[in-house]
């Protein structure tokens, strides 16, 4: 632009004297022309100065201001003003369609997210524990194994619903083949009226705090004893419907109700919608200033066992976090859950005393268990904690307690190593459990190692 002006004005300056010389015949005419040329030169200098000033000035923030240069471009200098790639002031100002989806991200992108989570566990324990299958990962004692390799797909189906599909693979038996399971697959209707939401499919039930947490996301290497004893190794994973309701209140309350098949063999096992498993949960949340937060909840799951006997599990949960303002992680986290199993069993009885069972009696058994865990994370990449377990067994007599200190280390947000020691003691009344192959696992010491990673997308975790 400046060059163009200079060429034009130079040409003008060059031509004008020639014309003047050709036409002027008197000294007065020549003087007038000279004056005119001087004025033009001054104008040229003024325009050139103004142009320089304008080029040196960064864009001002008025509507349609030029945004910064695109990626990779060097920062603007006095000679190189900010560029505005692909968008004009009119583009910015123009009202847009509310559902326009085709900006920023171009062709070739997926319409949902994919993530992979890998979780490997190593366990070292006594030989008698291995023989009895009495470790935290029964049948996999003294092994390093892939506990859960999870492939997740999640995203919006349309403006009204989202979906999640998780497929997991892992070693479930010693040296056996890797088994592949459908861990979860559900859709959620997001836009129902009156603060409701409906989830349907196969879900990790929102029963208590830890049940819905996936293996690799747990704050410990293993699930708490009470959860495994009452709900099985996998926890409560069911197929059916789950509705939530969040009333419009000054404090947070979430109410949940669900109807499921009742396939969980440890606690229920009826597996039919004719006699379904009903679940419910009430959850609330309290904040004390910006640093302290407490979540409290109550859960219930009520169904029938495979023997057509009623089984109900009640749960209570609490989770507290102290996160000083500005910290990237909580300094203190305390988590606890308690479960009460109210269950009826068929028990064979010898009514005539001949030593042969001749009738079936119904017997009620109320069993309970709990755990309490505390974790301190003084640094972003390191946390240490301890969990105490106390649990009865839903069917067998006796109880067990365990203590598990652990330390976690995150080299980055997507990679974590954990080392734990777990000591478990079981009472002598414990029958028909932890005694496979003539072994015994009343006192168990385990050294546990865990390595977990995340590839790709991973949704944020709830509180």
């Amino acid at each position: 632009m400046r060059a163009l002006i200079l060429v034009l004005v130079s040409s003008l300056v060059a031509l004008l004297p020639a014309n003047a010389a050709a036409q002027a015949t008197t000294a007065d005419d020549a003087a007038a022309l000279r004056k005119e040329i001087e004025q033009l030169q001054k104008q040229l200098e003024s325009v050139t100065d103004r142009l320089k000033r304008l080029e040196a000035q960064p864009p001002a923030p008025s509507p349609g201001t030029a945004p910064p240069p695109a990626a990779g471009a060097p920062p603007p200098t006095a000679q190189q003003p900010a560029q505005q790639p692909g968008i004009s002031a009119l583009d910015i100002a123009r009202p847009r369609e509310p559902f326009g989806l085709y900006q920023q991200r171009g062709a070739g992108q997926l319409l949902f997210d994919i993530g992979i989570a890998g979780d490997f566990v190593g366990e070292l324990t006594q030989r008698n524990v291995e023989k009895a299958g009495g470790g935290s990962f029964p049948g996999l004692e003294n092994r390093f194994f892939p506990r859960e390799i999870e492939l997740s797909f999640f995203g919006q189906i349309d403006p009204y619903a989202s979906a999640v599909v998780r497929i997991e693979a892992g070693e479930e038996t010693r040296g056996g083949d890797i088994t592949v399971n459908l861990a979860e697959a559900y859709l959620t209707l997001l836009t129902l009226p009156f603060g409701t939401q409906l989830r349907m499919g196969q879900v990790r039930n929102r029963f208590g705090w830890s049940n819905e947490i996936h293996e690799h996301d747990l704050p410990w290497v293993d699930r708490p004893n009470v959860m495994r004893n009452f709900l099985g190794e996998e926890g409560l994973v069911e197929q059916g419907f789950e509705a939530t309701f969040v009333p419009d209140l000054p404090f947070y309350v979430q109410a949940l109700g669900g109807i499921f098949n009742g396939d969980n063999e440890t606690a229920f096992g009826r597996g039919s919608l004719e006699n379904p498993l009903f679940t419910g949960r009430l959850r609330t949340f309290l904040e004390f200033g910006t640093d302290h937060a407490l979540q409290l909840g109550m859960s219930v799951a009520s169904g029938q066992t495979s023997e057509d006997r009623p089984s109900t599990i009640l749960g209570w949960e609490g989770r507290y976090k102290y996160r000083p303002d500005g910290w990237l992680h909580p300094l203190v986290t305390v988590t606890g859950e308690a479960l009460l199993s109210i269950r009826q069993f068929n028990v064979e009885a010898d009514t005539n005393g001949d030593g042969v069972a001749d009738s079936v009696e119904r017997r009620n058994k109320n069993r309970w268990g709990w755990y309490l865990s505390g974790e301190v994370q003084p640094w972003r990449r390191v946390a240490g904690g301890v969990r105490y377990d106390w649990s009865q067994f839903p069917q067998n007599p006796g109880m067990e307690w365990a203590i598990e200190p652990y330390i976690s280390f995150w080299p980055s947000e997507f990679l974590r190593f954990r080392l734990a020691y777990k000591h478990t003691e079981r009472t002598t009344q414990t029958r028909d459990a932890f005694n496979l192959n003539g072994g015994s696992a009343r006192n168990v010491d385990e050294l546990l190692f865990q390595a977990s990673f995340i590839l790709g997308a991973h949704p944020a975790h709830p509180f």
Binding site: P58, P68, Q156, L190, F285, L328, R380, E413
Partner: protein, 306 residues
């Protein structure tokens, strides 16, 4: 069991009848993911909106913890204004827990202010996590550039007008008033930083590229080894060498990052200074609104580089 269920149902029914009282007549209830957007939404919405933010300025927005208190704010929201470009992807989890169809992705009440923003540092090659916590869509910290406020506020005007079309004129008027004020400040800010134009700076985390580019400052390195990856000793040695060679005088630090480490590096680099920056409204004392936050950053840098 049935009695318990009945009691719970009755209680919930009664709770659902409760309607929070005295909500200002017809005000739009707006929630933003970050405080910068709260300030801009207040400027655009004026007294026609009631705005709250899910996070505080002192937080790292990449790693915000999704709390039920967020869900409570979102439960009653007419609109959710999000930064987008994956800075606040955690908002989806909070929205899902809020049971509010007004603000789910794709609903008219979901306002993404990154629309139309030409993002910087968009990867031009294949990216993976070996590069750290990279953003495949580009650097999402554009709200720190006051020169992009027109585009951001236009997105807010468009979004709020979808919900309250009758108020579009008022929103536009508020926006124009705000931008006029920002325009005046911008002239002064440019003048303040003009003497140090071209100065080289090191940042802790790449939050400032839009701001630096706008005002002609040059980012020559980051304290983080790679985005989101804590610095290794070798990397810090390299950065100290770089700062000495390039005569870098300041390290810009987020309030949530390790200021002591930055100060040690700055001292090792020969008298440089570590400056805590207003990475958002409310990040530092005095940065109570958008213009005050930018003002804080401009004056802090101008004084340090003087």
């Amino acid at each position: 069991m049935r009695q318990i269920a009945l009691v719970v149902l009755a209680t919930l029914s009664m709770l659902s009848l409760y309607q929070p009282s005295a909500h200002a007549a017809q005000k739009l209830r707006v929630v933003t993911t970050i405080p910068d957007l709260k300030s801009l939404a207040e400027a655009v919405g004026g007294d026609l909106v009631e705005v709250d933010s899910l996070t505080r300025g002192t937080q790292n927005f990449h790693e915000a913890e999704v709390r039920p208190s967020m869900m409570l704010k979102l439960r009653r929201a007419d609109a959710l204004i999000e930064n987008g470009a994956e800075l606040d992807a955690w908002a989806d989890v909070a929205v899902t827990g809020a049971n509010n169809g007004n603000i789910v992705r794709g609903a008219p009440g979901r306002i993404d202010v990154s629309r139309g923003i030409p993002l910087l540092e968009v990867p031009s090659t294949r990216v993976d996590r070996s590069m750290g916590d990279v953003h495949p869509l580009g650097n999402p910290h554009f709200s720190l550039d006051p020169g992009l406020a027109p585009a951001i506020t236009q997105n807010i005007v468009d979004g709020l007008s979808r919900l309250a079309p009758d108020n579009r004129v008022a929103f536009e008027k508020n926006r124009a008033t705000f931008l006029q004020k920002l325009d005046r400040e911008m002239g002064r800010w440019i003048k303040l930083l003009e003497p140090v134009r071209g100065a080289k700076v090191v940042v802790y985390h790449p939050d400032f590229i839009y701001f630096l580019t706008r005002f002609g400052l040059v980012q020559v390195g980051t304290l983080e080894d790679r985005p989101g990856i804590p610095p290794s000793p070798q990397h810090l040695v390299q950065i100290i060498r770089l700062m000495k060679a390039e005569q870098v005088k300041v390290i810009l630090v987020e309030p949530w990052n390790d200021l002591k480490l930055a100060e040690r590096v700055a001292a090792e680099a020969g008298g440089a200074r570590a400056l805590v920056m207003a990475t958002s409204v409310g990040a530092v004392k005095g940065a109570d609104n958008y213009i005050a936050a930018i003002e804080y950053n401009i004056t802090t840098i101008a004084q340090a580089l003087k």
